[in-house]
Symmetry: C2
Subunit: 330 residues, 2 copies
């Protein structure tokens, strides 16, 4: 492995001249081609470790998400990465598999790796957790919370308009005459789940409909829980006439359950799902879904982070709410 020193030796120039040129500085044309030749010949590659040690920058951002196998997260990440790459940043992705211990560990890991910034989709992390990890790390590196907020933790945050989206979805069902609507939500500790539940309840209140606790099923955002809770909903004496499933994975489970039971959507039961990824796009007849602005969310999280990494802390903390769309068949 050749170093900048070798290039210097090869060209007869000094290390600093090489370094300067390699970083976009001006050198004589003759030296320029000389250096190029040396780099080519020696196969010189900059040692990022050394550079980062000196500059205190890695040009790398860490992305921390609950699970690698969620289509929703994966999609958002793809968008984030694209934006970052365009700006000269690479990213390192960590999943913590819904494991709170790993969630903290991986966060530490990213800090240890000296990433220049972090985008986090939190799951169980509390404000205290975050503070302690970030404090220990010493350096104040930019952190963006994505999709979910953390209670009592002030930070740039990019979210979807969960309450409104949920409200609109449920309202549309009520408008169509449904009075008893089942909803399958995530654990209330996760802000999205909490908010989507709020939206549901608020409609019921606003329309003076009786709230029935047994119509609200709390899952864990996994496919399996969607499957099971949909069955639970339909296994009651008096099943709801419509079901609203509030994330993508649970929707897959619910649809699977429906298919198994021979229940047709939407003829046998009204149905609203979440997020237009893969399956939602090809299912026929199309299912009604709440479409989160995944692209926008990813992109603005990345952009805010880039801004912070540039040192621009104007209007901190930022709290963005991006609007979801309702994709409905008439």
């Amino acid at each position: 492995m050749s170093t900048i020193k070798d290039v210097a030796k090869y060209t007869g120039l000094s290390i600093s001249t090489i370094s300067k040129y390699l970083n976009g500085g001006n050198v004589l044309k003759e030296n320029r081609i000389l250096i190029d030749e040396a780099v080519e010949k020696l196969g010189y590659k900059v040692n990022h470790l050394a550079r980062s040690l000196k500059t205190n920058k890695t040009k790398t951002v860490g992305i921390l998400i609950p699970s690698l196998s969620s289509a929703f997260f994966s999609h958002i990440i793809a968008v984030i990465e694209e934006t970052l790459i365009q700006n000269g940043y690479d990213s390192v992705i960590c999943g913590f598999n819904f494991d709170p211990k790993l969630e903290i560990r991986k966060l530490r890991f990213l800090l240890d790796k000296n990433v220049d910034g972090i985008i986090l989709i939190p799951e169980r992390l509390s404000a205290d957790d975050l503070n302690s990890v970030l404090k220990v790390s010493g350096k104040q590196i930019p952190l963006i919370l994505l999709d979910r907020y953390v209670n009592d933790f002030e930070c740039d945050t990019v979210l979807a308009d969960n309450i409104n989206a949920s409200y609109s979805a449920v309202e549309s069902l009520i408008t169509k005459g449904h009075k008893r609507i089942g909803i399958i939500v995530g654990p209330p500790e996760i802000s999205t789940a909490y908010e989507r539940t709020i939206g549901y309840k608020r409609v019921y209140q606003d329309y003076s409909l009786p709230a029935e606790e047994q119509l609200i099923k709390v899952g864990d955002y996994s496919l399996e829980s969607g499957y099971q809770l949909f069955n639970e909903l339909l296994d009651t004496e008096d099943p709801p006439s419509a079901v609203f499933v509030t994330n993508y994975d649970m929707m897959l489970g619910a649809i699977t359950a429906a298919n198994e039971r021979g229940i047709k959507i939407p003829s046998d039961i009204s149905f609203i799902g979440y997020d237009n990824i893969e399956l939602s796009l090809i299912i026929n007849p199309p299912i009604n879904i709440v479409v989160q602005p995944m692209d926008l969310m990813g992109e603005s999280a990345a952009k805010i982070l880039l801004k912070r990494m540039k040192g621009d802390y104007s209007s901190y903390p930022l709290m963005l709410r991006h609007k979801s769309r309702l994709l409905f068949e008439k």
Copy 2:
């Protein structure tokens, strides 16, 4: 951010003593507690950049996979990470979104990051690509190919027994009396797809059955292609009586298509899918699937890598084939 120097100053000891102690060396008890106190008080954290620069080791392995949103890959990765963590290694995951350009770029990125080893699930990379990237990087770092091999590239490789698995699956259908079996495979450039096709064709040969090209549908391992190709298979004048879908994502698409058409599995059509992840586990009646040894594959890839990173290059290159199981209803 305090450094080892600060700890030295605080304790009155020298840098080297601190370093020695921090790396497991022996120091006097009194100094020991003194250092511990200083570390605690100053919130000292080792700078991995500096350490790695010096030691030439990052204790990090890179994992490069075609896509983050494939359940099969995600599952394997979880296993790999677990094994690595137990051995003091962290991992950095990169997906290249099925984009050949990104596949190379990310590989370079990992090399640039000075990972100590790499586990790669290749997609379009050729032996030449690999050689050129690895050569440029200079240092010879251990690389393990997982799930798929690269033609003409010698390297530790961990695979499933695709030919046999496919053969057995198809044979079981033939034994049950099926003569015309549709198969949905991936692109032949990917070794798993190539091999699973071989298995299929071999059965037909061995049983002296007429091979029909229109029964072999070539997709791209995506959910969408499974959906479409299943429909194509059934839209012919004389549809097959059984279908074998050779990866998880395409199976999801195929099942979706079947449900839409009101075709019941397995009463209306015999069906064999791939991999017992999520959906496969909860579908009822259960579908027949070929179960790849994901855990074993991930674990042994990690273990071989650990061995190589220790400098143990005995019996290189290793080529492991792990056996798939057939999970069948009688």
